[in-house]
């Protein structure tokens, strides 16, 4: 049989439980916009009953725990999706910078400069003696050469930008893994004590892991003591327990671009996801391919023009001059060094137009030079310079289009996963408002109950105490 004093404790427990519930609700409302926060829930349980002559009597309510609502599978999928989205986002941004270089739908570029050069030579073929037309050939050649150089420099700048980003991302990764290791330690310490689940610390750690997953492809496993072990690439340890293992970005000859090392092992090839992979892909795969095509074109144009020019005669009856500064050896760097030969710049009479001495009206070489514009001298004799360059711009557009499409797909998947996670873990103000009313009512009822017990107690004291 219950007692009045026992009822006091039932009322008190009710007040405590509703206060805890209100605190949890308040905390949820306060964190409604906190990234990575998982809503919490006060788990109420019936307090242990006591045995009486009339049977077991309830003793009120206890707060068993404060539980964070999470779906481990969705958290895992988010970490899995991060690297895909991060890689495509970075690659798309880098290729957009390349697109700006080659976007001849908006500005004049190499294609029109090549056309202008060969057209100027064609005009010179009509009047080889015309000094103004000679100067025009020189000007157009210089403009074309300058564009080859500036395009090459712009591509190298994109490469350098990606390389600088690699160093910066490695620093960010190391900072994140150090924080995660610290949080590992705190979670383990807290959960090994009286607190069953370090909800807030876990939320913070999960958010950092998600940030990390956008930077590099990682694998995450949770150990029994609550710590997470994180590895990158092919199992290269980043975090284990309270220790983090730094990655390093080390410059490699001859380019000076940085590779990624885990300890003494070069793991660059293992980086397949995240912003780190996006930058490495842009730097080592995409931009070099464009540069190579640009170099090939510059080397071929220079070589073909020189081959013809050296056989011709200028107005001064001199022969054997290169038109462009000759490029010897592999094509790498040909576009960056592309320029008109200083001897031609110094004297436009050296521009060869004729095939024989003392024939200023002879335009054989000038005509052949103009014909180079349509000659199939590229890609093993299957493409003209303009076809080859159009193909290069197509490649840039196609790569960017694919990266943009991939980014849209990966972003949509990520958004979907974030929504799914939020559907489980995010705070709903409606729910919190309802919970608030619930706990408010519980508190009010508990307090009312205490007043009744208090009145009864007073009545007993006043009636029998006097």
């Amino acid at each position: 049989m219950g007692t009045l004093w026992g009822s006091f404790y039932i009322g008190l427990r009710s007040l405590n439980a509703s206060q805890t519930g209100l605190s949890v609700t308040g905390n949820n409302i306060a964190n409604v916009n906190t990234p990575g926060y998982s809503r919490q829930h006060a788990v109420l349980t019936e307090a242990l009953s006591i045995r009486t002559a009339v049977g077991a009597m309830g003793t009120g309510v206890d707060v068993q725990s404060v539980l964070a609502i999470r779906d481990r599978f969705l958290e895992y999928r988010l970490v899995q999706q991060g690297p895909q989205q991060g890689r495509e986002e970075t690659l798309s941004a880098a290729l957009s910078a390349v697109e700006a270089v080659f976007n001849e739908t908006q500005t004049s570029g190499i294609q029109s400069a090549m056309s202008a050069f060969f057209s100027a030579y064609s005009a010179l073929a009509s009047q080889p003696e015309n000094m103004s037309l000679r100067t025009d050939v020189l000007t157009k050649a210089q403009q074309m050469a300058a564009l080859f150089r500036s395009h090459s420099a712009a591509l190298e700048e994109v490469q350098l930008g990606s390389d600088r980003a690699v160093s910066s991302i490695v620093s960010d990764i190391n900072a994140l893994t150090a924080q995660i290791a610290d949080l590992n330690q705190e979670v383990v310490q807290m959960e090994s004590g009286s607190i069953p689940s370090a909800n807030d610390l876990r939320d913070q750690r999960d958010e950092l892991v998600r940030q990390l997953s956008k930077m590099v492809n990682i694998a995450v496993t949770e150990t029994e003591n609550g710590a997470v072990t994180i590895s990158a690439g092919s199992g290269r340890l980043l975090v284990a327990g309270n220790r983090s293992y730094d990655l390093t970005a080390v410059a490699q000859p001859p380019s000076g671009f940085k590779n990624i090392f885990s300890g003494t092992t070069d793991i660059t090839a293992e980086i397949t996801g995240g912003t780190l992979a996006g930058n490495i892909l842009a730097r080592d795969t995409y931009v070099p391919a464009y540069l190579s095509q640009l170099d090939t074109l510059a080397a071929q144009v220079g070589s073909d023009v020189n081959a013809l020019h050296t056989t011709g005669y200028g107005m001064n009856n001199l022969t054997g001059f290169d038109f462009f500064v000759p490029w010897v050896g592999p094509v790498t760097g040909a576009a960056a060094a592309f320029d008109v030969d200083p001897a031609i710049v110094a004297d436009v009479n050296r521009i060869a137009t004729g095939s024989a001495i003392n024939q200023p009206g002879n335009n054989d070489i000038a005509t052949q030079m103009a014909d180079l514009a349509t000659a199939l001298n590229m890609s093993g004799g299957t493409a003209s310079y303009s076809n080859y360059y159009a193909n290069l711009t197509f490649n840039v557009g196609e790569d960017l289009s694919r990266a943009t499409d991939n980014l849209e797909i990966e972003s949509a998947i990520l958004t979907q996963l974030q929504n799914q996670r939020d559907a489980v873990s995010a705070v709903s103000l409606d729910e919190e408002a309802a919970a608030m009313i619930q706990f408010q009512r519980q508190y009010q009822a508990g307090a009312q109950f205490l007043r009744v017990i208090d009145d009864l107690t007073e009545f007993v004291i006043n009636t029998f105490g006097s």
């Binding site: 697109e99 029109s112 009509s126 349509t374 197509f394 557009g397 409606d430 408002a433």
Partner: protein
């Protein structure tokens, strides 16, 4: 599914971004008239436009070459017309001398006229177009005939220009072909001989020179026809190039130009969509149980 505010805001922002991107594309299409702004929007079209622009530049180059060639050929044609008139005048003067019998003063006058005509031939033989001698072969800076007594100073080479990808057209006739050909004497020598024969009242000589000048006339006339044919050929090529250029531009326009009606419709739809998204988005913040608590 449990719907929370963060999801709604995230989806709202995604929807707004999409509507604004759609509006931006439509607006740029309307304001620029272009369909393709970057390579990624339509890489194939961008590559094709690049090729077409190169082809258009090539056509422009041929048209420019053709214009130059036509100008030079037209000038040459005019010079030939003058030369034919001069030679005709010389033959007429010779024929007149045959009818004058022994009047020395009249003969002197006719001889002087022949001499004057010879100088006119000389002036035409040394004609220049844009600073270059048109009848000195490829030695275009060398005067073909410094004097009427001079031998030909130019060279026998023809000058060709490429009128299109497969056609080359000769734009000059070397002076030795015009003024001498396969004759033993050049045209100036015939004029000089005719002048002397008129003064000497040598009717046989005058007749021989008139016949020789007839040969010169026939040769010049034939070469004049060559020039005329070359002019016609270049003009026809130019006309064909112009049509090709128009087709090229039409194709470029199809590939790269915006369909304005479609763009304006897109713009209107995107604007309506954006307004609807903004209005519905504004409701998200209003509808919460919190607002109904007293």
């Amino acid at each position: 599914m449990r719907v929370v505010a963060t999801m709604q805001y995230r989806n709202l922002l995604d929807d707004l971004a999409q509507q604004k991107e759609r509006m931006d594309i439509a607006q740029r299409q309307i304001s620029t008239g272009l369909r393709v702004f970057g390579l990624k929007e339509d890489p194939l079209a961008a590559g094709e436009i690049s090729n077409l622009e190169a082809q258009e530049a090539l056509v422009d180059r041929f048209i420019h070459t053709a214009d130059n060639a036509v100008a030079k050929l037209n000038y040459t044609d005019a010079v030939f017309s003058q030369l034919l008139n001069i030679v005709t005048s010389a033959m007429t003067t010779g024929a007149a001398a045959l009818n004058l019998n022994t009047d020395p003063a009249s003969r002197q006058a006719l001889a002087d006229r022949v001499a004057a005509l010879r100088e006119e031939v000389l002036a035409n033989a040394n004609a220049k177009h844009q600073g270059s001698y048109i009848f000195s072969g490829t030695a275009t800076l060398t005067q073909p005939y410094p004097t009427s007594a001079s031998a030909y100073q130019g060279d026998p080479n023809a000058i060709y220009v490429r009128a299109d990808e497969t056609t080359v057209v000769q734009t000059n006739i070397p002076g030795d072909q015009i003024f001498q050909g396969t004759d033993p004497l050049n045209v100036f020598e015939y004029f000089t001989d005719l002048q002397a024969d008129i003064l000497a009242n040598d009717t046989v000589g005058i007749n021989q020179n008139i016949q020789a000048l007839q040969g010169v006339f026939d040769r010049m006339n034939a070469l004049h026809t060559v020039v005329g044919n070359a002019t016609s050929q270049v003009n026809m090529i130019k006309e064909r190039l112009g049509s090709g250029k128009l087709e090229n531009q039409t194709l470029q326009s199809k590939l790269g130009s915006a369909n304005l009606a479609e763009a304006i419709t897109d713009m209107t739809l995107a604007q309506t969509g954006l307004e609807a998204t903004l209005q519905s988005g504004a409701q998200i913040a209003r509808l919460s149980l919190i607002d109904f608590l007293s």
